[in-house]
């Protein structure tokens, strides 16, 4: 499983996913940009076929002002093959919902709870989606750009 060419992998993925997958690169990473609906399928392929067993980081970025959406970023590593890849997907600001990757990588548990807590993105089929860093009765999502440093102005729930 660990012996494969990264370029072959990208080609195979592109063939399998077709238009649903956009692949691009920068100085540091290869990015796989996909639709929220295809995220779970892509995750399963990456883990089972290419050995990306370490979901190092799962986070979200607020692009509501510029794109009207949130970007969710998954930094993946393969411990046996020592490779890295990034999955990115966007969810609209008016309906921030996405499938949980907990069934694929259990480490998503707390990381998704954190994104839910601070960004207000709902992860469908998460086993226990409750706030983690803020108190349970807290209103608002502090890492959103409309949550100002001065406090609760224009708080969206």
């Amino acid at each position: 499983m660990s012996e494969y060419d990264p370029q072959d992998m990208l080609q195979e993925l592109q063939q399998q996913m077709g238009e649903k997958l956009v692949i691009y690169q920068d100085r540091f990473f290869t990015f796989l940009h996909t639709n929220p609906g295809d995220l779970l399928a892509l995750s399963r392929i990456l883990r089972d076929k290419y050995g990306f067993n370490h979901l190092a980081d799962l986070t979200a970025v607020d692009y509501i002002d510029s794109h009207g959406s949130f970007e969710i970023v998954y930094h993946l590593y393969s411990i046996p093959a020592n490779r890295k890849i990034v999955i990115k997907t966007r969810v609209p600001a008016n309906k921030p919902e996405i499938d949980s990757v907990f069934p694929v990588w259990p480490t998503a548990d707390w990381q998704e709870r954190e994104v839910y807590d601070l960004m207000g993105i709902t992860f469908k089929n998460h086993p226990n989606l409750v706030r983690i860093l803020m108190p349970d009765d807290y209103v608002g999502h502090p890492l959103r750009k409309d949550f100002t440093m001065r406090g609760r102005e224009n708080v969206t729930n």
Binding site: D26, F28, F29, N53, H54, L55, A56, D57, T59, V61, D62, V73, H75, I79, N82, V86, W105, P106, T107, D109, W110, Q111, E114, L118, R131, I132, L133, M134, P135, P142, L143, F147, M149
Partner: protein, 366 residues
């Protein structure tokens, strides 16, 4: 077996054995743990939100305060991330000093781990020995920056000041004493029958679970997975040093304890080599007065901190402040397996389990 009603025992948030504001709700059946519910967030200070309203330079002290027990390591992770974004080349001498300070931080953190584990298990003497040894490292930090714990000594491109004259002899003196230190720890702790009984075969974490739950650092290596970012993805100049990666077999509390003990020795080896090779020269690269990474640039950079994989994810919008800064805190993710390794054990084991996972709450809660 006789079934009793389940009841909950609250451990923390204020309790010496939780190493900070950590609250664990143990669901008990008699004296057996059925489940443990971990509540974090008591030291949440919204570091990621603060970062969005500070310039890149202003965030350095906040980064130091993430893992206050090994403050050079989170600082190093942060400055390296921004250097990567700006494509800054750090002078040789500064690279070596970074290795020296980083590894001393790791030793300080691991010594405190040994000491706090000892006191959690009731061995107060072990704690005092460890604090005595850690003090010498804090003295070294004080020489370089005037600060003992949270030094904020690093800058983008290098360091604020060069090492003072007295630093290198004092550092060598500390390294010379490591074997003696180990003799004491082994006599007092690792060879101690009570300590072994409290740690062996308790809190077992399999390699598979460790990988699935994203466990990194000494906790992962104690489960037998050979994954050290200093080897797997060498950052800075780690590829120039010879050192071993200590591994455990079972992933129980004793393995986690022994792996960290051996890592102290390996860190000592790295520092010795770095001191031998330390070149003369500049300690700070020329960097722009105002740090502004180009628009749309994003970087995820990770280092092997004392607790595991510490990652910074920074997105730039071309301004003086980060558009988004996310900290992948190893303590936060390592704590996730506490319920998993505690289930089926006894109440007193949960204390040992927290101690050997070695969370630092400043980093877990951010």
């Amino acid at each position: 077996m006789l079934q009793t009603d389940q009841y909950n025992i609250n451990i923390g948030p204020i309790h010496p054995s939780t190493h900070g504001g950590l609250h664990v709700e143990a669901v008990m059946d008699g004296e057996t743990i059925v489940d443990a519910i971990v509540h974090v967030g008591y030291v949440h200070r919204a570091v990621e939100k603060i970062a969005e309203s500070r310039t890149y330079t202003q965030f350095i002290p906040y980064a130091s305060r993430l893992d206050y027990l090994a403050s050079h390591l989170p600082t190093m992770g942060y400055v390296q991330t921004v250097e990567k974004m700006l494509d800054i080349h750090v002078p040789e001498r500064a690279e070596y000093i970074r290795i020296i300070m980083g590894e001393f931080s790791r030793i300080a953190s691991h010594i405190l781990f040994v000491g706090s584990l000892a006191i959690d298990l009731g061995a107060t003497t072990g704690f005092t020995y460890c604090m005595r040894d850690r003090e010498k490292i804090l003295d070294l930090f004080e020489m370089t920056s005037g600060q003992r714990m949270i030094a904020s000594y690093m800058r983008f491109g290098g360091f604020a000041e060069d090492l003072p004259e007295e630093f290198i002899p004092a550092a060598r003196n500390f390294l010379k004493n490591i074997p003696q230190m180990f003799d004491e720890y082994n006599h007092l702790l690792s060879g101690n029958e009570i300590l072994q009984a409290r740690l062996k075969n308790i809190g077992v974490l399999s390699a598979e679970d460790a990988i699935n739950y994203g466990i990194t650092g000494p906790n992962l290596r104690a489960s037998g997975v050979d994954y050290d970012l200093r080897k797997a993805e060498p950052y800075g100049i780690y590829d120039r040093f010879a050192f071993d990666v200590p591994l455990g077999e079972k992933g129980d509390n004793y393995d986690r304890f022994m792996v960290r003990l051996q890592e102290i020795e390996q860190s000592g080896r790295i520092i010795t080599q770095a001191l031998d090779q330390l070149p003369e020269g500049e300690i700070r690269a020329k960097i722009p007065r105002i740090v502004k990474p180009e628009k749309g640039l994003e970087v995820y950079h990770r280092i092997e901190s004392a607790k595991g994989e510490l990652g910074y994810y920074i997105v730039s919008d071309g301004g003086e402040k980060p558009y988004r800064l996310h900290v992948r805190a190893p303590s936060f993710i390592n704590l996730m397996v506490l319920p998993l390794i505690s289930r089926g054990g006894k109440l007193q084991d949960i204390i040992a389990n927290i101690a050997t996972l070695d969370p630092v709450l400043g980093e877990a809660d951010r």
